[in-house]
Amino acid sequence: MSKQDNKHWPPTCSAALLHKRSELYQSIRIFFSEKGVLEVDTPILSQSASCDVNLDSFSTTFNQRPYYLQTSPEFAMKRLLASGSGSIFQIAKSFRQGESGRYHNPEFTLLEWYRVEFTMADLIEEILELLMNCFNENLSFSSVSYERLFHRYTNINPHEATIEELLAYAASEGNPEMASVCGDSLSNCLDYVFSQYIQPKLKPNLVYIVTDYPVCMAMLAKLSEGLSPTAKRFEVYFSNIELANGYEELTDASEQQQRFQQELEERRDVGADSVPMDRYLLAALETGLPNCSGVALGLDRLLMLMTKAASIDEVLTFPINRA
């Protein structure tokens, strides 16, 4: 270790931030304990990984077998739900390769919770209650469908959009290189357009609850019924930052297996490493996941917003380059 590195031993956050984080965790625990939601602890290391092509897991070995650091505690928590745990929450360290920047650290903290028999609307109500509790003020919020928001800023209907249409839009906005960033994936293109031309234009003082995503962006969400289904997925944006992502959870084991399979095929198509899908999760779903809604909220980003920090390093003790 060089002399230069030695200077980097102290934390990057202030002492006040240490207290702020501790207070936040305490208030979260009180919040859920009053609602009878059980705090749980699940392993960070797993024999399987998320198949999502845009998620890159850290891996290691135990007894010559590969193990992966979780990218979120979702799968293990769903196994608890299927075993009859009832509503649960967890403050969990999560890990994602290659994600480092102003709003990202490869190791970060998620607050993830699941509410049995909650619809997406019920859970959204609870998130808003939690946020107002954290900020200790009445926040203005707007609940808006992905379609309406997308159309308002781009004049494009995201449910009917084609890759070509989205590429043409990005090119007209000065980003013809979107093709190389997104490849041959409609959901990638939608995510790109949203993050480049919509997210930065949202009103910073308003909490946005974006709901009802296009089917190709369903991830682990249930689909609505009817002729033109949407995914029962929502995201929370505040101060132009993506703060939380939630689903009314998919409970159908074979549908889940199909989505994993499809993700593994996408991985193969783009030359990403293959990873083992979570068979334990599929077995749990087969036994029966109760109807529930769940959400993951980035606690480091929440702390950034609560303290008006300009960079995630200001709320972490030791970010990756000091870890």
């Binding site: 845009n54 102003r102 960033v181 790109y192």
Partner: protein, 189 residues
Amino acid sequence: MSTYSTNDFKSGLKIMMDNSPCTIVENEFVRPGKGPAFSRVKYRNLKTGRVIDRTFKSGETVDAADVMEIEMSYLYNDGEFWHFMDDETFEQVSGDAAAVGDAAKWMKDQDKCTVMLWNGSPLTVEAPNFVELEVTDTDPGLKGDTSGGGGKPATLETGAVVRVPLFVQIGEVIKVDTRTGEYSARVKS
């Protein structure tokens, strides 16, 4: 030629884009929703000065630009090119009007300039922040007027014209701030 990946991106990094050397002004890592990771980058074209916004897929690589800034002595102008010398290696380079730009009107033999070299040729030249130049032409001031009020134009030995206080006379040497193009002080000879 060496390359940089988006993981190496930071402000000040010199990269080749659109066949021109560029410097990164801003770099932000983005991973939207469940979408693809990319870098949102602002870079300045060092030839034209234009700032461009572009996104790069995470892990994408670009060529490094062989750009460095060194201090050199200005030697002379042959009518078309301005010649500079590295005081340590005695290596000489020459740059045209586009590279030398505004610095041309402030430089005098032996002045130490900051030259940005791209593949060994001057891309931009910065004159020293302060230069001392002789006044070659200006209206004679009124006797006894030592105030600075108003001022008058004065032509300097390099051809540059600056506003000077009324008391400054032909033949005197003045100090000029090249960043603002303004008179700074009279130099006692």
